[in-house]
Symmetry: C2
Subunit: 185 residues, 2 copies
């Protein structure tokens, strides 16, 4: 098994990723190194900036991941600031912002992973889950915006699904699948 | 006159600062160097991170400035992300988020300036302007959140004031005054 460091402070994410990458014979090790997340328009920019910062300070193969929800009618708000915005205005704030909007409530959850191999080559993988914002908070599972996000062709929110159900659609499952495909090659 | 570089892409801010610092016999030169603005809880953190980045790349005395509006009832949203949030949801978004809130609409505009002298010593100055968010957009002057911000003890928004009137209250005028006081010492 090869060692691969996942630079994150998020235990939940770590478990999800470690479980998945064992398939490719990687032993994923959580490393809470801390790195700056830059204000930017895209998750790719945030992740690329993080990679440059880490590359100067850490010299083993690693991955980082960033995710967010992009709401079309709000010009992609909260996007790269999803986590911070959630702590400030929550799902209630998102519902208020979409108040009076009946149809155009499309949203996309996105995850971007950067993988830096032992030759310090950088590979970036994105995963998306399209859907829409419901009219109220429903369900107790998951976290963050899960109670208001309904994936395409479904009528349940992420927060009404079991972990397995959610993983079938998940943006992070998706970006991880792409990373996995690349590593297996 | 001593040269002082203002690292900014914002010409309006540059003029305001140049005008003010001429008092202290500084010739302010605009330098559009570009530096990362980090995701953080405070403007001080954003500015300090910017300073470290610039210090590694630029070796003359300089200042940088960052500003934002912190709305109490929204847990200080939009705060350090004020500019980005404005481009996405605008004043209309802020009014929607405060919909139904009659009294508790307090807000604070804040400006933080970092000054790095020729000995590379860093000095940070903050300026604030307290007030509240009105119930609708009023006035055509100013920019950003000015049409919804009413400073304390006033009944006009920033966007209803002339530049001179606004400057009496302004958070940036305030942080600049503090920098000026320090430089004159």
């Amino acid at each position: 098994m090869k060692d691969l460091y996942f630079i994150t402070s998020n235990k939940g994410k770590y478990k999800e990723v470690a479980n998945k990458l064992i398939e490719a014979d990687f032993k994923v090790i959580q490393k809470n190194l801390g790195y700056p997340e830059v204000q930017a328009n895209s998750l790719e920019d945030v992740v690329n900036f993080g990679v440059s910062y880490i590359l100067e300070r850490f010299h083993k193969p690693f991955i980082i991941e960033d995710a967010g929800i992009f709401i079309k009618n709000l010009n992609d708000f909260p996007g790269v600031y999803s986590a911070d915005v959630f702590y400030k205005i929550g799902c209630k704030g998102i519902l208020k912002l979409l108040d009076g909007i009946k149809k155009d409530r499309g949203a996309c959850f996105k995850s971007v992973i950067a993988y830096v191999n032992s030759d310090k080559q950088i590979h970036v993988f994105a995963g998306e889950c399209f859907g829409h914002i419901g009219f109220e908070e429903v369900g107790d599972n998951g976290f963050g915006y899960d109670p208001v996000f309904i994936p395409k062709c479904e009528n349940k929110t992420f927060a009404e699904m079991t972990v397995d159900e959610k993983n079938r659609f998940s943006h992070r499952g998706n970006s991880l699948d792409r990373l996995l495909g690349f590593i297996k090659e």
